[in-house]
């Protein structure tokens, strides 16, 4: 089957999917997933077999992104998270008119907070919890910033939860819509969380970041906050930028403007509810 996914700023065409995978994706994207129609798509993905023999014996699949195969082959069971990673890869590899940061984004009262951090820092867990608790989660993975307006675009993408964070979110967010758990990927166990209906997402509008928070989950630790300078913030944002080097002066100006206009802080926490209260106070 070939489907189309409209994530908001970008559309994806995905070929070669089986009915069960389409069903799982439908649960995450609702009516933003449709059978592919004629038209233009920003990114094209294709799920292919690696050899005729491996269609039948130890079935193996490979994801092609615009004709490039950036990942190792996978089994059918690992397709769902791999498609999500491939969609991220497509945007990071080919989209260079917006500054893209490895960062979660949440918004309240029209004010965005960036959580730039590498994998395993807990940024997806935090963004998912906040997105469930009254914030608008624009993304759990990638901040796309217009270099002219400095606004961050909302993305209709599920949050990607790994290992223990699946249980954490299941406990903290009772009615959250979780996908089946994909076990044993190279990042461990993965589940995806859909927080919004398409109608709810329709109210999300691009917003300027007002704060940059570098979060770190530390078990049993009281929430501690350390303000950081704009210079340090610039350096830390730079480490999490996917295409800063490609965007040249525009990338530098955007990153410089964000680090000088946004209050930046490092926060260690163990109680997400406590952190929610603090962050809500910031954006009132």
């Amino acid at each position: 089957m070939t489907i189309a996914i409209d994530s908001g700023p970008y559309t994806f065409s995905i070929k070669g999917l089986s009915a069960p995978v389409v069903s799982e994706l439908s649960n995450l994207y609702l009516e933003r997933l449709t059978p592919e129609k004629d038209g233009f798509y920003d990114f094209s993905l294709s799920i292919e077999n690696t050899s005729p023999l491996r269609r039948f014996f130890r079935r193996q699949r490979i994801i092609s992104v615009e004709g490039v195969k950036p990942f190792n082959p996978i089994s059918d069971q690992h397709l769902l998270p791999s498609i999500e990673w491939a969609m991220n890869w497509a945007v990071a590899a080919y989209q260079h008119t917006k500054l893209s940061l490895h960062s979660s984004v949440v918004v309240k009262n029209g004010k965005a907070i960036l959580f730039p951090a590498s994998s395993g820092s807990g940024k997806s867990t935090l963004a998912t919890y906040l997105g469930y608790s009254g914030w608008q989660m624009f993304s759990d993975e990638m901040a796309l910033i217009d270099p002219n307006t400095l606004e961050v675009s909302p993305l209709y993408r599920p949050a990607s939860l790994k290992n223990k964070s699946i249980d954490v979110i299941s406990t903290l967010c009772e009615n959250v819509n979780l996908s089946n758990i994909t076990r044993g990927t190279h990042k461990g166990d993965i589940a995806h969380a859909r927080l919004y209906t398409c109608q709810q997402f329709g109210h999300f509008v691009p917003s300027k970041p007002k704060f940059v928070v570098f979060p770190r989950y530390v078990p049993h630790k009281e929430t501690t906050i350390r303000m950081i300078s704009s210079v340090e913030s610039f350096a830390m944002l730079l480490r999490n930028a996917f295409n800063y080097n490609i965007m040249g002066k525009q990338g530098f100006s955007a990153l410089s403007e964000i680090s000088s206009s946004c209050q930046a802080m490092q926060i260690e926490y163990s109680d997400a509810h406590d952190l929610d209260d603090y962050l809500s106070g910031l954006v009132e």
């Binding site: 065409s13 004629d38 038209g39 233009f40 798509y41 920003d42 094209s44 294709s46 690696t50 050899s51 005729p52 023999l53 491996r54 193996q60 490979i62 615009e66 004709g67 490039v68 950036p70 990942f71 190792n72 082959p73 990673w85 991220n88 890869w89 990071a92 080919y94 989209q95 260079h96 008119t97 490895h102 590498s118 994998s119 993975e141 190279h186 080097n245 490609i246 965007m247 040249g248 525009q250």
Partner: protein, 369 residues
């Protein structure tokens, strides 16, 4: 999906966009993106004052590709300066080839053209000294199996590819332009001293005729023409995109003949005629051409068209297979060809049985993706 004619009409002649709906644009830009031709096509369209043809929904894709290509220019200039400094210090003359030469020589075909590595050429007597200097300056050889290492060391026209440990750039160091085992030797001293200027970069950029000769040999004497349309576009723009086309063509033809590649010049002329409607092929079209020229021209004309699921193809695998054999035959003597084909066939059979990725080495974890 586009027909081959629709694709080539749009790509080569910059025509037919009036008939392009969103579906055709989708197919067209997919093929461009798969073949790293998005930004260079945009620049060709810009030079012909036809940017208005690009619909708004495609603009972001083109502008992203332009930004990427512009970043590559900066990276190439930085690496170019470092290599010039390194080779000046050990007093080894060298030239840049292909993509790096186009960028550093400010050739028009470099605009938006992407590349995966930097190519340079030194004379064979300097290859050991060059290798030693590069290894001492942070470059190291990429991992490869014993067969591939032997292929490079004994049969090829370049040493195994080097990668910079910190900067991720790949460098190919050539000592000639085609594998010397075929017995067709080029005047590499003349290539290295063919530069038309003494300035920093310019002194390391071969003359236009040498750039075309190298690109043509890469296209015609090769088993892999995945980037064939890009190479032919390079040649077309080099010859017809700047300066006097008739002088460019005359100088280039003279070099091909001097270096013993008259047949390849005819094949190239015919291909330029086919794809870009130049007139240099017409004088050969009715001539009594050799079987080699006829076969090479016929197969390349089929195999150069990008292999994509967005273009209709008829028997594509056949043209690629025939080109694979003819390309190897063109650059290797039969006894080495036999060894090479046996080895490649073994690997391809294993891949067919166990998957294309059987020999792929695990990749380091990507940051969060």
């Amino acid at each position: 999906m586009l027909s081959q004619k629709q694709f080539l009409n749009a790509y080569c002649y910059l025509n037919g966009f009036d008939d392009f709906d969103a579906n055709k644009w989708n197919s067209f830009v997919r093929v461009l993106r798969e073949n790293s031709l998005v930004a260079s096509f945009y620049h060709r369209l810009e030079r012909s004052n036809q940017l208005y043809c690009i619909p708004e929904y495609c603009e972001d894709m083109f502008l992203s590709a332009i930004n990427f290509a512009n970043a590559q220019v900066i990276q190439t200039e930085v690496q170019g300066k470092k290599l010039i400094r390194l080779f000046n210090a050990i007093d080894i003359p060298f030239v840049f080839l292909k993509g790096a030469a186009y960028i550093l020589g400010s050739k028009r075909n470099s605009m938006g053209r992407l590349m995966t590595d930097i190519d340079i050429c030194v004379e064979k007597e300097n290859i050991d000294k060059a290798e030693e200097a590069l290894l001492g300056a942070g470059w190291s050889f990429k991992n490869m199996d014993e067969h591939d290492d032997k292929y490079y060391r004994e049969w090829s026209h370049e040493i195994p590819p080097l990668k910079h440990d910190n900067e991720g750039v790949v460098l190919d160091v050539h000592h000639t332009l085609i594998p010397p085992i075929k017995g067709r030797l080029l005047d590499i001293h003349a290539l290295i001293h063919s530069s038309e200027s003494d300035s920093d970069f310019s002194s390391t950029i071969p003359s236009r005729a040498w750039l075309v000769l190298h690109s043509a040999l890469h296209l015609i004497l090769n088993e892999d023409v995945k980037n064939g349309l890009r190479d032919l576009t390079d040649i077309f723009v080099l010859l017809y995109g700047e300066g006097s086309a008739s002088e460019n063509v005359a100088e280039t033809e003279a070099l091909f003949i001097k270096e013993g590649f008259e047949q390849e010049w005819i094949v190239l002329s015919l291909l330029l005629e086919d794809f870009f409607n130049t007139e240099i092929g017409s004088e050969h079209a009715s001539a009594n051409l050799s079987l080699y020229i006829r076969m090479r021209h016929f197969i390349l004309r089929k195999a150069i068209v990008p292999n994509s699921s967005f273009i209709q193809s008829d028997g594509r695998w056949l043209w690629d297979s025939v080109n694979y054999v003819l390309g190897y035959c063109s650059k290797m003597p039969l006894h080495i060809l036999f060894k090479q084909v046996t080895y490649k066939t073994y690997r391809n059979l294993i891949k067919l049985a166990f998957g294309e990725y059987f020999f792929r080495k695990p990749k380091p974890k990507r940051n969060g993706l």
